[in-house]
Every structure is written in structure tokens, then in C-alpha cells.
Symmetry: C2
Subunit: 354 residues, 2 copies
């Protein structure tokens, strides 16, 4: 059932039926009702391609998910972010298209989006330092909102980001105030902007309390469970081990915990862990007393906000860039405690072992 057939059944022109359905004022209330009920009865829905062709807009938002070439890791954050964004799209009759793309063809995807008219705008995921995609999208003239930011990119653009710096600065100071002096940082990949900012925050926290930043205590890589485990093993086995860990992801934090407990140590009592918690639905850290002390901020909520921002921008193309900075809250859980005066000395010679 298409518009022509429907209007024919009603004895009306396509024009009138179309207008009735789209809520234009120049159609009589009586006819509008007649049209509406007929459309419902015949289960009529306008063909989206035809509509798009006529209006020039696709009512579709593109999400490009680059597969990190290094490890083929699919961003675990993605599901929840997209769930948030999807809510907003659904409520506004927008469609979402997803491109999984190898890093190097990403530019081509954006260009195709624009020239083929596949989408009305895109959400940019996983911005890196000096991310070229931002200026690229501006050149292309495709409306976009970034989930995160890109240090080093001067351009003005809309983004939704957590205050990673302040979050990790606070977390670091929190640990220092508990008496910790050797605090390890288990970070995400350094080329990612969020990871960069978190490290800055960590270093800020240290310097504000007058502590030096020791490169030997910092690790950074894809935030898998295994990475958390391996890093913690290495650090705990080294000379002058940390008494606390600041971790960029709950998944890695699970790995850190494994390493800690495998050594017969106890979280909070022997080793403190603070993690960044994106509040992923399947990794609920909640309950009355959170498992991990965490700086947390809902990535799902970020998805909602980013989507809303983008839709607003598409509706009013002349509008100014609108950055949103979310503050993470620091919630105390069961993984932190005061530094022990004397960490249990391993029965090995400290020096010489290299």
C-alpha cells in the first residue's frame, strides 16, 4: 500500500493525503481524521527511501566503529553508549546505521556517508590525540558530535565528554590521602584522548600532593582483563611495588584484582584499587556498597546526550557548537583502604635481582 493507492481509495489527491499525514495546517480537520484512520486501517507507512529522496534527508545517524587495528578489540563501551543513543533516536523517529570499519578506510566511509546521503550526521567514537577526523568532518560538511574530545584539535565542535582529568586527579588525591605513595596507573592506550587526559589527571594529583610521577608505575594498553592482570603481576613483582592501583576500566580492574588475590593479598587491606566505571549494564559495580571504589559516569547517559545534541544540530544547522562536560562522581567502595605502614616484605633480596 503506497501513497497513490491510499489516496485513490480515499478519493483524495496524494498532496492532501501527504499533508494530512504530516500534520500540515492546510487540510480540513474532518479529512485529516479520515486520512489518519484509513492509513491506520490499511497499515500504511511511507516508504523511507522515497521520503528521503523527496526531502533530501535520511533521518538516519551514522556511527562508525573503528576496529582497533592493534588487537581487533571491539570497544566494550559501545553497546551501552549506543543503547542510550538509540533511545533518543527511537523517540525522534531516527534510524541508526553502524559501520564497522578498519581504521584506514574510515575517512572513505565518512565521504561516502556524505555524498551518498546515507546519513544526516554522525557520532564520532574514540577520538585520538590530534584526531584528523574532526577537521575532516568539518571539511566534508557532515554534522557530527564527538563522544569525547581531541586534545590538539583547535577547531570548535560539539562534544560530550567526562572530565577525565579531574576525575583521575581526584582519585589520585583520594589514594594519597589514604596514605598511599606508590600508586600505579593502569591506563588505556595512550593515543586515545581519554587515556591521555586520565594520565594528566593522575599526574596532576601527584604533583598537587608533592609526589613525583614514576614512569615505572604507568602502563597503558587495550583495556582487557588480561592487560589488567599482566600489568598488576609485573608491578607487584617488581622492586618497590605499588600499594594502590588507579585503573581506567572495570574490566582491567577485574584483572588487577585477580593478580592481587592470586598473591594471597586482599583488596582494600593490602592493595587499594580505584577504577573508572562506565556503569556498563553487565558489569554492575553498584549495590549498596560498590565493589570497586570508582570514579563513575554513565556511558549510556553520554550516549543519550550526544544523540540529543546531534539531532538538535541537524534541526538547526546554524547553531553554535555545544560542548557538554560531565563530571564523574567518586564513589567509595570495598576496594580501597589506608596504606599499610609496612607492606608484607617478600622473602627475596631487594637489590641485585635486577
Amino acid at each position: 500500500m503506497n501513497l497513490k493507492q491510499l489516496s485513490h481509495r480515499l478519493g483524495l489527491s496524494q498532496t492532501t493525503v501527504s499533508r494530512a499525514l504530516n500534520g500540515y495546517p492546510e487540510v480540513g480537520e474532518a479529512t485529516r481524521q479520515r486520512v489518519l484512520s484509513a492509513a491506520a486501517r490499511y497499515n500504511y507507512r511511507p516508504n523511507s527511501r522515497a521520503k528521503g529522496l523527496a526531502t533530501g534527508r535520511s533521518h538516519t545517524i551514522g556511527h562508525v566503529l573503528p576496529t582497533t587495528t592493534r588487537h581487533e578489540v571491539v570497544n566494550p563501551i559501545f553497546g551501552d553508549f549506543i543503547a542510550g543513543a538509540g533511545e533518543v533516536y527511537a523517540a525522534n523517529d531516527y534510524e541508526m546505521v553502524l559501520s564497522i570499519v578498519e581504521d584506514d578506510t574510515e575517512e572513505e566511509v565518512y565521504r561516502a556517508f556524505k555524498t551518498r546521503g546515507t546519513v544526516d550526521g554522525v557520532i564520532l567514537h574514540g577520538p585520538k590525540l590530534n584526531d584528523r577526523r574532526i577537521t575532516l568532518l568539518q571539511e566534508i560538511g557532515l554534522p557530527f558530535v564527538v563522544h569525547g574530545r581531541a586534545s590538539g584539535v583547535a577547531a570548535d565542535y560539539s562534544w560530550v565528554d567526562v572530565n577525565n582529568t579531574s576525575a583521575f586527579a581526584r582519585a589520585t588525591e583520594f589514594l594519597i590521602d589514604l596514605g598511599h605513595r606508590r600508586i600505579a596507573l593502569i591506563n588505556g592506550p595512550e593515543e586515545m584522548d581519554f587515556a591521555h587526559r586520565r594520565r594528566c589527571g593522575y599526574e596532576d594529583g601527584l604533583t598537587r600532593r608533592g609526589l613525583p610521577a614514576d614512569p615505572a608505575l604507568m602502563r597503558s594498553d587495550e583495556m582487557t582483563e588480561r592487560f589488567g592482570y599482566d600489568s598488576a603481576c609485573a608491578l607487584l613483582g617488581a622492586a618497590d611495588p605499588p600499594t594502590a592501583f588507579l585503573v581506567a576500566s572495570v574490566i582491567s580492574a577485574l584483572g588487577v584484582r585477580r593478580a592481587v588475590e592470586e598473591r594471597g593479598l586482599r583488596l582494600a587491606r593490602d592493595i587499594s584499587v580505584v577504577t573508572f566505571d562506565d556503569m556498563l549494564s553487565y558489569l554492575d559495580n553498584g549495590g549498596q556498597v560498590p565493589v570497586f571504589t570508582a570514579t563513575r559516569s554513565s556511558v549510556r547517559d553520554a550516549g543519550r546526550r550526544a544523540a540529543r545534541l546531534l539531532l538538535a544540530q541537524i534541526a538547526a544547522p546554524a547553531s553554535l557548537p555545544d560542548p557538554v562536560l560531565l563530571e564523574a562522581e567518586l564513589t567509595v567502595g570495598q576496594s580501597t583502604g589506608p596504606a599499610r605502614p609496612l607492606p608484607p616484605a617478600p622473602l627475596t633480596l631487594p637489590a641485585k635481582t635486577r
Copy 2:
């Protein structure tokens, strides 16, 4: 730059240019080259909506992701599955649209997909027992492939599934052969088909070895880390606790491990754990010796296969349903070992305490 402009620049008709670009034979080789290079120079790409309108096909596959109403959990499997499917779509010039949808409006989404012509086919996620969506999609006449199967649905359809039953039967027998007699099952939600089948496999394994199935040892819910932890705590704290756990997801298995180690017990030595491992990229269980003994099967690969199946079906609509049953492999890791003759007796009175 659209077709009209391009053909005008070339001094050719739209027909010829279109045919040259789409590889039809009735155009001279010389002109074809001329067209091709002009298209490249002017960066021409056909508008996808116009093309879709004309051809009647959208070159788009729909994925509907129902948010589990119960806990608002976003399926953590989803990211990797879609990464696999996306590879195939990208290679075949297909687009992927994603609908995040509350359970009860899912039917409406499929109907809209069909009548609006948004997609050429859909992949069905998370089939439940007697899932109504399958017959619905057949009624609607939308090509589809199911990731998983639906017990109780008689219809013939294409699906890609792991042999959950045999996987969990083998895992159970494996544990029994190690001497375990009390084996707990930490399963996914029972209404999900895969969870149902895993329980069947578990029970099969037990009966084949002449052991009874004890309902007190079975738990089932959303497969979060917390659920694994809570379940393991409850079971380990009860009278006659299990010596082994069969877990439906690595995420829950992490929770089980936490509960185990928190009690001062050691994996493999005191408590054995076998988990189903979907080989999610951020939960790498790999390495030379896997952390968890696991029945494993790549969900990413399943995504690839499902996508290929669907594209083939769309290309040849008359083709017969094509089910694909993947076998999970049982890989032995560091989380299993022989049952200890005498589990460390807790210092409490066994009876009376209820």
C-alpha cells in the same frame, strides 16, 4: 555531483553512464573507462536513496537489539557479533541499521522495516523458547537469519547456533571425570533458548554418568559479574556446597572466581570452574594456557556466518533454509583440577543451622 551532471559533463546519456558504472555489457569498453575515470575524478557516488527507490532494495540489513526489560542489560555479546557481521556487510556493500527497542515494541519495528522498506532482511538476536518473532517474520515476509534457535518453534528457518547442549554435556562429563560430584550450574536467563539448551546439556551430562540433577545447584539470571558472585557466594555458603561450577559466561565466571578467592579458596585446587567462552575481544581468555577451562566458540565468527547466510538468502530468495550448527571446543585451562577427596570442612555444625 549527481548522475545527470556527470553524464552531461561526459556528453553521454544517464542511461549509458549508469550502465557503465554498474558493469552492464551494452556499453563500449572505451566509454566505460572514460566514465569510470570521470566518476573517480568528480568523486561521484550514486545517492543510495535514489538507487534504492529505483531498484526496490535498500542494501541494508537490520539488527534489532531488544533491551532486556528486566535489568536493562545490553547484551555484551552484541559488540563482537556485530563486528563479525559488519565485516561481511562492508565487503558486500551492505549497510547495517540498528534498532534498540523495548521488548514490547519489537514487533512494530519489524513491520515498519518491511512496509517502509528500510531493510532487505534482519538478523534476529537472542531467541527465546517458543519465540513468536520467528513466525512473525515469516508472516511479514522479511528474510531473516536467527543467531541461535528457538526450541518449540516448528517452522523451518535459517539459523547459526552453537551446539550448546553438547558443549555443556561434555563440560559436565569432563568435570565428573575429574571426580566432581556436586557441580553447580550458573546459567543465563531460563527463557533464553541458549540457556535452556545449556541446562539440558548439563543434565544430560549428569544422567549419562548416573548422577542426579539437584535443582539447588542451579541458578539462572542475567549473566553479570555480580550474578556470578552472588550465586557462588550463596552456593558455597550452603550445606553440601559444590566443588565445581559450570558457568554460562566469562563475565559471570569472573564473579564466581571472586567469590571463590574471597573465601581463601583457590581455583582448580579447591574449586573447579568451566565457563562458556564467546571469545569476546576484551575478555581474552587465550594465551598459551587459558585462564578458564572453557567450551568456546567465537561469537564474532557466528556474526560473520549469519551475515553471509542472510545475504545469500536475499540474493536467492527461493533458497531453502540453511541452518549452521557450530561445535564449541573444550579447552582446558587453569581453572579446573581433580576434586579434592575432602573439601576443607568449615568450622560450623553441618546440620541444624538450616
